[in-house]
């Protein structure tokens, strides 16, 4: 169906083909770049549920990204030091198993999103932006002062965590993990957008009165969206920290929130594959222009300015036009 679906398939195949070719040609750095694109896209897919579907301009998604990262860092560092994370009700020495780390990252970031969302969704517009930003910065400064886990210097782990059946130290295998999770969340996100919940959430973005008048509560819809959104971004955070084998307060900073938002805006707000296109373009620019000038973000700024002025639908909107009402 439709050009957008074809376009999406091409983009996804390209993301798969590039690292496979790099693997054949023995270019691990390119594989790592593709892995980074997949993980950052995953973070954007999370934000896009709040921003695109729900119209919630959250400038605090770094909080969830960072919580996912620290979930990885804390569990893995304990597993490597053999120092129990806690002794009661049972002795738990952390974990270097990715599935468990992901579960903790998702639960922790979902819980944070529930609390932050419950407080900030009582506001709207610019106040919502500011309050989510404030929560993000709160966690950022907390992480800086949390010396048990590296404080300002961050926390390194020596070896990448393990995934049953795979050797995650091999770049292409770790890529396949990130790619698989990206596909899974893209699928979840597309189902969500087409669901009754998605319809109601999207309606709440367009007309709050309308949704209330048919007897649906916008606050609950948005809170649900915010929690799902935060959980996915948290999962991306755990993967990102695993990619770098390092987590630091930078992951929690508002600069990170802005970057995740740039992926979404660049690709196309509310478009299923917007975050993937945005993250890919961002990483490409970073490495093509970054080689020419360390001020490459000037070009990113120009691109973003151009998008906002002339192509509000992002790159996908510019290429494919307005989204057709889904059937």
């Amino acid at each position: 169906m439709g050009r957008e679906r074809l376009f999406n398939a091409v983009i996804l195949l390209a993301l798969l083909a590039v690292p496979l070719m790099a693997w054949q040609m023995d270019e691990p750095f390119v594989i790592t770049l593709a892995t980074k694109v997949a993980i950052l896209a995953l973070a954007g897919v999370g934000l896009n549920i709040a921003l695109g579907l729900g119209g919630l301009v959250s400038l605090g998604h770094a909080a969830f990204f960072g919580i996912g990262g620290y979930a990885m860092g804390i569990l893995a560092s304990h597993a490597q030091n053999y120092e129990p994370l806690f002794n009661w009700p049972f002795v738990f020495e952390g974990s270097n198993q990715m599935p468990l780390i992901w579960l903790v990252a998702v639960l922790a970031s979902a819980t944070a999103a529930l609390v932050i969302g419950a407080l900030s969704l009582r506001t709207s517009g610019v106040y919502f932006i500011m309050i989510t930003l404030a929560f993000g910065q709160m966690l950022y400064y907390f992480a800086i002062s949390w010396s048990a886990y590296g404080g300002e210097d961050g926390l390194s782990i020596w070896v990448r965590n393990e995934m049953p059946g795979l050797n995650t130290l091999v770049p292409i295998q770790f890529f396949s993990v990130a790619f698989g999770l990206l596909c899974l969340t893209l699928w979840i996100s597309s189902r969500l957008a087409q669901s009754a919940f998605g319809l109601a959430l999207s309606a709440a973005r367009q007309s709050e009165d309308r949704v209330q008048t048919v007897g649906l509560a916008p606050f609950k819809l948005r809170l649900m969206a915010f929690v799902i959104s935060g959980a996915i971004t948290g999962l991306a955070g755990a993967l990102f920290a695993d990619l770098n084998r390092f987590v630091s307060p930078t992951m929690l900073s508002w600069h990170t929130s802005g970057e995740i938002m740039i992926f979404v805006i660049l690709g196309g707000v509310g478009r299923l594959y917007g975050p993937l296109v945005g993250a890919a373009v961002y990483i490409l620019l970073e490495h093509l222009l970054g080689g020419i000038s360390e001020y490459w973000q000037i070009f990113l700024g120009l691109l973003l300015l151009g998008m906002v002025l002339f192509a509000r639908g992002g790159l996908i909107g510019a290429l494919l036009g307005r989204e057709v009402a889904h059937d």
Binding site: S195, F197, A200, R210, T213, V214, A325
Partner: protein, 254 residues
Amino acid sequence: MTDLVLQVHNLCKSFGALKASNDVSLDLRPGEIHALIGPNGAGKSTLIKQISGGLQPDTGRIEVLGQDVTALDTVARARMGLGRTFQISSLAMEFSVLQNAVLGALGARRARGGRLGLFHNVMKDADLLASAQEALSRVGLEQAAQQRTADLSHGQRRQLEVAVALTLKPRLFLMDEPMAGLGASGSKDLTTFLDSLRQEAPILLVEHDMDAVFALADRISVLVYGSVIATGTADEIRNNPEVRRAYLGEEELT
């Protein structure tokens, strides 16, 4: 016990020095159309907002189906069976016409205790579609179902407002100027339709189209400067000297 569908008791609402609702009382009986008329700025919209739950009155009480709803919000009142249409269209403009109607059907499902699905394609839900399509065909919008709502004419948006309210299968309707901008034939069609609708659920109708009001209303209340100055049948209102002076002016009423 009472069988009145809606009762408004001594409602007061002020904005600073302006008394938008000044001790307003009115009610709605089963099977009737009760029209609320008044000049611009008389406080009709403020009153409608208080009844629907969008605005809290300063004092006074509102009962729906015998239950005090004054402290309830819009969502709770909608779930109790209050179906509202807006003066200024509040439809989801990016949606197709059908999607807007499905949203209403979804609200009705939720009010019956159903859940919103997270995974199933809502536009393939046979029950919701049937309910939405039925409502669209009742207002004559079945041909426009796949159109984008933003592309509808003003009159069609009014029809869709009514259709969405229909999907809720409400116990009473609150309609804020459904005829506005409809044109002669459109407003005649809607008049015929509302006439038949009163058997399903009574209607509190705010309307400027006097032909429609006099054709439809079992009772008319006249609101001037926030106060109800008269309530009665069409004839009583036509012949009420105070109403003539305050609102209808010297205009000849036939």
